[in-house]
Amino acid sequence: MSNIYLKPNIGGGIKTAGLKSTEDFKTATLPLPKKVVIPFTHHIGAPSAPVVSKGDHVFVGTKIASSTSFISADTHSSVSGTVSDIIELHWSDGSLRPSAIIETDGEQKPDPGITPPEISTREDFVSAVQSSGLIGLGGAGFPTHVKLAKTKQPVDTLVINAAECEPYITSDYRTIMEETDEVIEGIETVLRYTGVKKAVIGIENNKPKAIELLNKKLNGSPEIRVVPLKTIYPQGAEKVLIGRVTGRAVPSGGLPADAGTIVLNVTTVSFLSKFVKTGFPLVEKRITVDGSAIAKPGNYLLPLGYCIGELAENLGGYVRSPERILLGGPMMGIALSSEDFPILKTTNAVLYLSESEVSTIPNNNCIRCGRCAYGCPVCLSPVEIDTAYENGEIDELKTLSVKNCIECGCCSYNCPAGRPLTQTMKLAKALLAKVGEKK
Amino acid sequence: MGKLKIVFNGILKENPVLVLVLGTCPVLAVSVSVAGALGMGIAATFVLIGSNAVISALRKIIPSNVRIPCYITVIATFVTIVMMLIKAFVPSLYAALGVYLPLIVVNCIILGRAEMFAAKNKMLDSILDGIGMGLGFTLIIVIMASIRELLGEGSWFGVSIIPEEYTIGVMTRSPGGFLTYGLLMAALAAILAKKGKKPLKFSTSNGCADCPVASACNGSHECEEGAE
């Protein structure tokens, strides 16, 4: 049987310090915030339409926004209380997104209308997952039910992303250590309803205890296999992960299904197993808090919408002045300009970094060393893309396959001249999109 | 343009060597010694003035599709005159200039100005243009020769100034010629930029029609890109 899939050529990646100092911190909880700010749209896809207005009373799990199309997701309240206002929240990309501010009443009453879903077919499964508000909990935010729907291409492998390649972040690791049974049940649930035959868990080998625990619980299962990966950033990037565990490449502009796979984050499957039993939608997240500026780093299970400032207060405050606050890891995370931003479904870490933990190198001339090209996991040439973008050479940018860039940050990390290459890649993509539109 | 302006145009703003970049071959070859440079400059100026005058006088008669051979015939006549004069009266210069003397016939400055100016303007203006361009050419080629002879051989106009151990050999060879040429072009561009004049973009009032490379360029306007 000929192999219809492309061979993956994966470039160097980078070796960073793991900085996983919170790995052995068991997940804790924090006092409820006074208010939560929940944007109606956390996901990639069509924005959700709000179904609550000012003054409404909500319970934990009450739907506050409804998906408007297939590639969209519902959003639910993470606390019980009253909707005190609907505001436009300043997003990191400069846009304004409507969000609900909910004053907590401290009681955390679950919504009485929540019941376990009735699932007998794949279609039932997909619509049940859609109603749970589940989106990729690894940080990408793609509505999960879309991945679980039947595709034209044949799919034979479920890939579970447990790589967690970003420095500092240990929330997925804690999920594996503390919810191992749910993880495995979740995988089995997905396999059962989608009809996919086997599953592979890709996990970096800097988590030996997790690998051992999973293997023990799987007990030689023929369907689910654990594949340890070398600890190189970005093993957890979807295209790289698929290449490493299946030996297949996702074609340019394609989806994992084009490589015969479905990729789900390990925390996503753990949630799925709980959801299928209880019907309780996505309202809380396990977040790694780290950085030398905060008093109490660790892993915390927090309701969505917890504001960063209030979070810092409940975490014991600052022990030194934070230079930068990131949502996400240091390689791809977004720097916040104020503490008034909330935790989203896509957040898996809040990093309160002090000056010594943030690198700023002034931007100098490119010396054409090529370290960016060596580090690029998808084998692009940032050195040439940078020059082409500066000169506005549209055709050259097209030839250089800028659209394949996964924006992992390896090129910028490696650059000795401190050039903002990742940003240049994004700007080049935007330029090509603009030029494409004009046509 | 005013009459005096035509002359100064050729010296500075549309200097044939540094701005129009025409006639680079004799410039590079003959700018090794000041004596040769001066001789070449005077010879070329004489030919330029003469050919501009005659071509301008005949401009209404010469048919457009045979104009190049006609121009060359006229130019060759003047070059022959100059060659004979120099051979008779200054044989050392004749020897020094060698093959570059007859090559004045195809010197792009002369042919270029015939096409760009003399063919379209009155005789007096064409003569003034010839004077201006000739002066510009001579001026630059003498400046270049001064630099190259001084640094490369330590003399000026044959008079030894710097002892030989302190000469820089590369200046008398082609790399030195190109380096001097390039640096002079940059210097003039800097001066013109300071005075607020943008470097020439071949945008004379007639657009592409005046451009000596119009046929090769075919309207791709490469002259306008990055002409800073």
Partner: protein
């Protein structure tokens, strides 16, 4: 609680290896060669190197001031160029001539084209060629370290190896003694400051490889190709060929310059092989002994094309 938070695009951490740290590693790698030249050629050599560095740094500093550009001497690339230029001249070269070379390398080859990262050929090699054309006598009057044979004015191992075939038995023994491998290795022969002590260059090269500054591809492919071709042509004994005439300095320090060499592994291989072919051909079929210099300069000019042809194929195929 209003603190000012700094906001910047991801990634928020960077590799510690900045441009000036890379240049510092190159300077450290050049120290064995500098020390060897001092031992072999005396104090004059060290003075020349120091003056050359000062000349380059000063030229770059003044240029940035005059052109009102941000100051760039702190990236230490001028220091590296200064050392390399000095290593390419004989110990007896007048100081003003080395300063001329400095100006050519820094101002003309590097700054006029856009500064670091924009030079189209190796600045030190370009300076060597210009100096060779400008001061032919002083650039070829090689001095000899103490303990080597006198009486061979102007000869370097390359020229004397060439002369071997026409030598009298007496001269041949002299030449044989002169051109033995060990002498070539530790530098007990005439030449420019940096090309004589192979041992020092190798130490520097190994340091650069261990520190991850250069990949061994270019030096190895360059040397191997030259070795094999000289064996095939039969013109110079292969082992002598790779130990003499500046090929080691060129292969380790000049051909590996980032800006003027390809950035992919395949490209580096093509570059190294090309340099090797050109060196062997120039040495065998022409009168000049500057084979390495010209071969590297010619390959430098081809680098943009080599880059285009040896690009990696993107994961998942090219974007449509």
């Amino acid at each position: 609680m209003t603190k000012l938070l700094s906001v910047a695009p991801a990634p928020h951490i960077r590799s510690k290896k900045t441009t000036n740290l890379i240049m510092l590693d190159v300077i450290i790698a050049l120290l064995p060669v500098v020390v060897a030249s001092g031992i072999l050629f005396g104090l004059n050599a060290l003075v020349l190197i120091a003056v050359s560095v000062a000349g380059c740094v000063l030229s770059e500093y003044l240029w940035c001031r005059l052109m009102k550009k941000p100051q760039c001497v702190q990236d230490l690339s001028a220091v590296v160029t200064g050392i390399l230029i000095a290593l390419n001249v004989p110990a007896s070269l007048p100081i003003w001539q080395v300063l001329f070379g400095d100006v050519v390398a820094i101002i003309i080859v590097k700054q006029l084209f856009g500064g670091i990262g924009y030079n189209f050929v190796n600045p030190a090699l370009a300076a060597r060629v210009v100096m060779g054309l400008s001061f032919p006598a002083s650039m070829t009057s090689y001095t000899y370290p103490a303990g080597t044979l006198e009486g061979m004015s102007g000869a370097t191992p390359l020229s004397s190896i060439d002369a071997l075939s026409n030598a009298t038995p007496e001269a041949a023994t002299h030449l044989g003694k002169y051109a033995d491998l060990f002498s070539l290795f530790i530098g007990r022969h005439g030449g420019v400051l940096g090309e004589t002590c192979a041992l020092a260059i190798l130490i520097g090269g190994i340091y650069l490889i261990i520190r991850g500054i250069i990949k061994p591809i270019i030096p190895l492919s360059f040397l191997a190709t030259t070795f094999l071709l000289h064996y095939a042509f039969g013109s110079i004994a292969p082992l002598h060929a790779i130990l003499s005439g500046g090929i080691l300095l060129g292969a380790v320090f000049m051909a590996t310059d980032y800006t003027t060499s390809p950035y992919t592994d395949k490209g580096k291989l093509v570059f190294g092989v090309g340099c090797g072919i050109l060196t062997a051909v120039i040495r065998t079929y022409t009168n000049t002994h500057e084979g390495v210099t010209y071969s590297i300069l010619i390959m430098n000019l081809l680098v943009p094309y080599i880059n285009k042809l040896t690009r990696k194929k993107p994961y998942g195929g090219a974007a449509k």
